[in-house]
């Protein structure tokens, strides 16, 4: 698995540098989008994996699920930070400001808060049996907010994010889409690899 | 009531294994004494028997409809409530409404004069008086399983006689577990389980 990830990552990096045309009017640095989108994707995947393992733990009382849930949350926290920073840089290049509470920025910010709260909770409880139960319950409680936020937030904040598939069809060049999808797959594989450590 | 069954119960606190693959049976109509050095797990055994704590592996079983009452130094009563309010509250949690006569009777049986102290807040009570009130709650609730953790510590001689008489009188229809290192308390037990260190 290590080899596949290494080859795929090298291939994608090479493709981004040499193959993908510069994004219109934004320059080379805007290619950070190829980093931003996959990390954002993984931070969401990690969030749901953490909740999934939490529910597994509560049903089986098997502590290895608690470990997996915690690891997914820790990885998710790293990925969500990387994604937020890269997103802020892209935002500055595209819209002129690092932060503007656009719906997706708001959602990812909430994700940072939840991850942070979850990890603080784990750090605050020393008894490992209680910690496992309590953090699993919080993980499941926090996952409930997501569908509501997805519904509520777009009504509260005006969006700047490009929607990749608009009514007139796909806006991006096909090679950009291919590299982006490959990068998302690659990031997911990296996440799975790190989970198996 | 048939009994409480421990089947291959294992429990550890951190790295310390308190119980390793323990199989036990506590029958009805007997008083079981649990003795052992400090830290040998006397209180823990009682908590396991009452399903207040759950084992890491193995099972503890007793009939589904069996109710539990306990007397333990860890379990406190409400300081800001009066003796009668405490008594009525805990009885009501088990669906029992206490009449005034019943309250006086419980006071008489536990040696706590309800006429004088009934309407006084328990924050002004001595340790022994609180213990008497806790015993009155135990009697009021009238559960099937009694878990008594050092029930007569802090009591004077007449208090102890009272308690012993009540416990002896109740044993014909209950399962009684008594954790103690006190010789007099151990003497009223029908069987003694000595926990190894």
């Amino acid at each position: 698995m290590n080899k596949i990830i290494f080859l795929l990552t090298t291939g994608i990096v090479a493709a981004i540098i040499f193959f993908v045309p510069p994004i219109k009017g934004l320059g080379e640095l805007a290619k950070i989008i190829f980093f931003h989108v996959p990390t954002a994707w993984v931070s969401v995947v990690a969030f749901f994996s953490s909740a999934f393992f939490a529910s597994k733990f509560l049903r089986t009382n098997n502590f290895s699920f608690d470990e997996l849930s915690a690891r997914a949350a820790k990885l998710g926290f790293v990925f969500v930070l990387l994604s937020t920073i890269s997103g802020a840089i892209f935002s500055k290049l595209t819209w002129g400001a690092y932060w503007n509470w656009d719906p997706r920025q708001t959602t990812i910010f909430v994700l940072i808060l939840i991850y942070g709260a979850y990890l603080t909770l784990r750090a605050a409880i020393t008894d490992e049996k209680i910690r496992a139960k309590v953090s699993a319950v919080y993980s499941l409680l926090s996952v409930l907010t997501v569908p509501f936020l997805v519904f509520v937030i777009p009504r509260m904040y005006f969006s700047l994010h490009p929607s990749p598939i608009s009514s007139s069809g796909v806006e991006m060049d096909s090679e950009v889409v291919i590299v982006l999808v490959a990068a998302v797959v690659d990031a997911t594989l990296i996440f799975v690899r790190l989970m198996r450590r | 009531m048939t009994g409480i069954f421990f089947d291959a119960v294992t429990l550890s606190f951190g790295k310390r294994k308190i119980f390793d693959n323990v199989t036990l049976k506590f029958d009805c109509r007997k008083i079981f004494g649990v003795t052992g050095a400090n830290g040998s797990g006397k209180s823990t055994l009682l908590k396991l028997a009452g399903k207040i704590l759950h084992p890491d592996s193995g099972t503890v079983n007793f009939p589904d409809n069996a109710q539990i009452a306990a007397l333990s130094p860890e379990m406190k009563i409400y300081d800001a409530l009066t003796a009668v309010e405490n008594l009525k509250f805990f009885a009501r949690l088990r669906g029992k409404i206490l009449s005034d006569e019943k309250i006086f009777e419980l006071g008489r049986r536990t040696g706590l004069d309800m006429k004088t102290f009934g309407n006084e807040r328990t924050e002004n009570f001595s340790t022994g008086m609180r213990q008497r009130l806790k015993f009155a709650i135990l009697l009021a609730v009238d559960a099937d399983i009694w878990l008594l953790d050092e029930p007569t510590a802090n009591l004077d001689d007449t208090g102890r006689e009272n308690f012993f008489a009540e416990i002896q009188a109740a044993k014909s229809e209950k399962i009684i577990l008594l954790a103690t290192n006190d010789v007099a308390e151990a003497q009223i037990c029908d069987e003694i389980i000595r926990l190894p260190m």
Partner: protein
């Protein structure tokens, strides 16, 4: 399976007990009220005279309610754990009855808090409430969710080593789906703008989810 009636009786007994305790030990309740008063007063003093727009006012109201609630609700279980009564309560009381009893108590103290702070807020910030019923409905719906999430969160933080701040950190993300629409609706109630009633439905639906989830998840604790 216990009868519904006996559980209700148990819930009532707990509500009555906590009411008595709060009456005799007023510290937590007083702290919550004074916290709300202090924050409203400090904000009003520091913005004195400035004309604040409705969006900002609505946000202030909910931020004050949130932080006063954390001061009031964080000890829901922990106060009893510290006093040593929680284990007795858990032994004699049915778990679901304890949860719902505590939830009711939280709801009642939040209601008392709002009844106290809302008029003061309106006077100090010179708020003109255009749609009083919308405001009351929003607050009621918001408080239900806050009480439900707050009760479960309080149960989670009982065994935590650090208390200060942890409760607020945990509660905030979980109650965001209430706050965002509640702030918008509160803003609308201060103006003559059109009511977006779907937001009220969102809060109501989330309240229901929170109550059900608390009930299910509490059994695992």
């Amino acid at each position: 399976m216990k009868l519904f009636g006996s559980r209700c009786d148990c819930v009532l007994a707990i509500v009555r007990k906590d009411f008595l305790l709060n009456l005799r030990r007023r510290a937590t309740f007083a702290a919550m009220m004074m916290f709300a008063l202090t924050t409203v007063a400090s904000l009003s003093l520091s913005t004195g005279g400035a004309i604040l727009d409705e969006k900002f006012l609505a946000a202030i109201l909910w931020v004050v309610i949130f932080f006063a609630a954390t001061a009031g609700l964080s000890g829901t279980f922990d106060d009893e754990a510290q006093a040593g009564t929680l284990s007795t309560l858990k032994l004699y009381g049915d778990a679901q009855a304890i949860l719902f009893g505590k939830m009711f108590v939280s709801m009642l103290s939040l209601l008392a808090l709002t009844i106290f702070i809302l008029p003061i807020f309106c006077v100090l910030f010179d708020v003109n409430v255009e749609k009083i019923f919308l405001l009351l409905a929003t607050i009621l719906f918001g408080l239900i969710g806050l009480a439900a999430a707050g009760t479960l969160t309080a149960a989670l933080t009982t065994s935590a080593k650090i208390k200060g701040g942890l409760f607020a950190i945990l509660l905030f993300p979980v109650t965001l789906p209430i706050f965002l629409p509640a702030i918008r609706l509160t803003e609308i109630s201060f103006t003559s703008a059109q009511v977006d009633s779907s937001l009220l439905v969102v809060i109501g639906a989330f309240d229901t989810i929170l109550i059900l989830a608390s009930s299910i998840l509490y059994d695992y604790l």
